[in-house]
Amino acid sequence: MTDELPPTPEPSIFERMRTRLTPDGVPSDDRGRMRMVVDSLILHLHPTKIPDRTLRWTYTWGLGGLAAVLMMVLALTGVVLLNNYTPAAPQAYLDILELNSNVWFGELMRNLHHWSANLLIIVAVLHLIRVFITGAYRPPRELNWLLGMLMLILVLASNFTGYLLPWDQLAYWAITVGTSIISYLPIIGNWLTRLILGGPEVGPNTLLNFYSMHIALIPLAIFGIMSYHFWRVRKDGGLSIPKSLDESESGAEIKLERLTTIPNLVQKELIYAIAWVAALLIFAMLVPAPLESIANPDLSPNPAKAPWYFMGLQEMLLHFHPLVGAILIPGLVILGIFLLPFFDLNPRNVGVYFRSRRGRALTLLAAGIALIATPAWVLLDEYLLDWTGWLPSWPSLISNGLIPLLVITIPLILLDDWVRKSFQADTEERVLFIATFIFTAFIILTITGIFFRGPGMALYLPWNMPTH
């Protein structure tokens, strides 16, 4: 009791609040910074230290993070849009008009929501491609690949259900065409379509069904899977480590330097997110989301097109019986994507873009062949092939379904065989070859559907497109 300290002054209430909310600012030593990551609810999604290589901008392109940023923008703008929307026909359409003309920043919120949702599809697909091309889905990351695919499907479902909500002609007929595809599912098709539509055709019940899925069911599911996805990234040992071709071929041990998450990763993420949000804002201010006249069930527009991301599917429907073009082929492709990490599991070459030198050459070759073969086949089928005309007494499932299916699968099998024999391609390179071929073909079909199909779904050059 002898050496008394001088009495410290009682801190003011503001001082106490400040020290409680931001303890000491960002610590200046590495240890303190690592401690800060562990102690924070949001930051502890990250490890305390990360390998310097995974910070390379040109490895991940920040695609997963960007998808998460877009989710946040969508959640925020989506919630405020709810305040000016009634899920009833025709009030929904009138609400959108009101939103565009009489609500402060109403059009901006709608544009932001619309363009973020469209960008999210592109970003999610690019993210998937990056993970595929670098072989990052191989063990131990198979489960996260499945979760990512589930989220991609949910993102598409979210986009599709949101497409109906403005209740304009664009929405009405895109959803009519899109949901009719479901009715081709064997046995349960008609029943399921009726359940989803809430009646025999797209109507007020459909709007209510889609609304509840769009604002509650799907976002909740995405949020759950997204959290799991992030957690698994850490459980699987962080991102796959990028390697150059030379490093992969020499098989030399790669020395990793580990950097603290604060500031090396956090700073990059923050700048990236801010830059994208700024770009989105500018885009949303300049380009309005489309809105056509109010939905009219008696008048199908000509042409009636599905949402752009389903135009590849709709293009398939012009060439195949729907059971083959919209259910069988897409179903098999999606199943194949889900199963990829279970037959392409060689742990070698993880983190190398295109796997190997031969892989690079084969990717280019596959893209090149698809780039020529797909438009050729579209033109051939449009002007020359007429299976139903040649085989009038056959059921169209065979003449317009199984026969064209064989016509495209047999060359693909022969191509794969050729690549295996002439290039000595191993499993991982053949998977890369086939996947590149199918993906390029799908992109070309999508572009054909969006830009080259006019009235009556006939082929036109984009600059010669007749306007109604």
Binding site: W173, T176, V177, T179, S180, I181, S183, R194, L195, L197, G198, G199, P200, E201, N205, N209, P297, D298, L299, S300, P301, N302, P303, A304, L317, L318, H321, P322, T388, S396, L397, N400, P455, G456, M457, A458
Partner: protein, 161 residues
């Protein structure tokens, strides 16, 4: 030393019982939700029996669109009636009747159908669906509850006054 087999099989039995009741509960729950979500139809709208008009309102060789009922009344040259659902059997677009070409042409994927609703140009996989027509006291009554799917044209589909 007791024989382990009986105790194992009792455990198996209990496990099986649990699994059975668990599965039954899951099926019941799913059933409740699916039943809850079943669509309901309002009275007097599309889906009920609709009076299309008097028989004499439809001259032979004519095609009349009744948008409220979502169907066409087709009167054939011999005076017979067909009621054709206006929804394309391909992907559900509304098919307009083209008076000059005398056929139904779908704007979405250019399927074409003749006067009886038969496919003359794919991709439509089957003829346009029909609704049940009956003539009651000189009026054409159309039951829009269930579209009748068909693979071909048969004379039994035509109703004569």
């Amino acid at each position: 030393m007791p024989d382990p087999t009986p105790s194992t099989s009792r455990r198996d039995f209990l496990k099986l019982t649990w699994a059975f009741f668990g599965a039954a509960a899951a099926v019941e729950t799913a059933g409740i939700f699916i039943t809850y979500l079943q669509p309901r139809l309002a009275e007097g709208e599309f889906g009920s029996i609709i009076n299309a008009g008097l028989v004499d309102d439809f001259p032979p060789n004519s095609v009349t669109h009744l948008t409220n009922g979502r169907f066409y009344i087709v009167r054939l040259a011999d005076g017979g009636f067909l009621s054709i659902y206006h929804r394309c059997t391909h992907l559900g677009c509304t098919v307009p009747w083209d008076e000059t070409q005398q056929k139904f042409i779908c704007p979405c994927h250019s399927s074409e159908f003749d006067r009886q609703g038969l496919v003359t140009n794919p991709p439509a996989p089957r003829p346009l669906d029909l609704f049940k027509v009956s003539i009651v006291d000189g009026s054409v009554m159309v039951d829009t509850a269930v579209p009748i799917q068909r693979q071909s044209y048969e004379t039994a589909q035509v109703i004569y006054p």
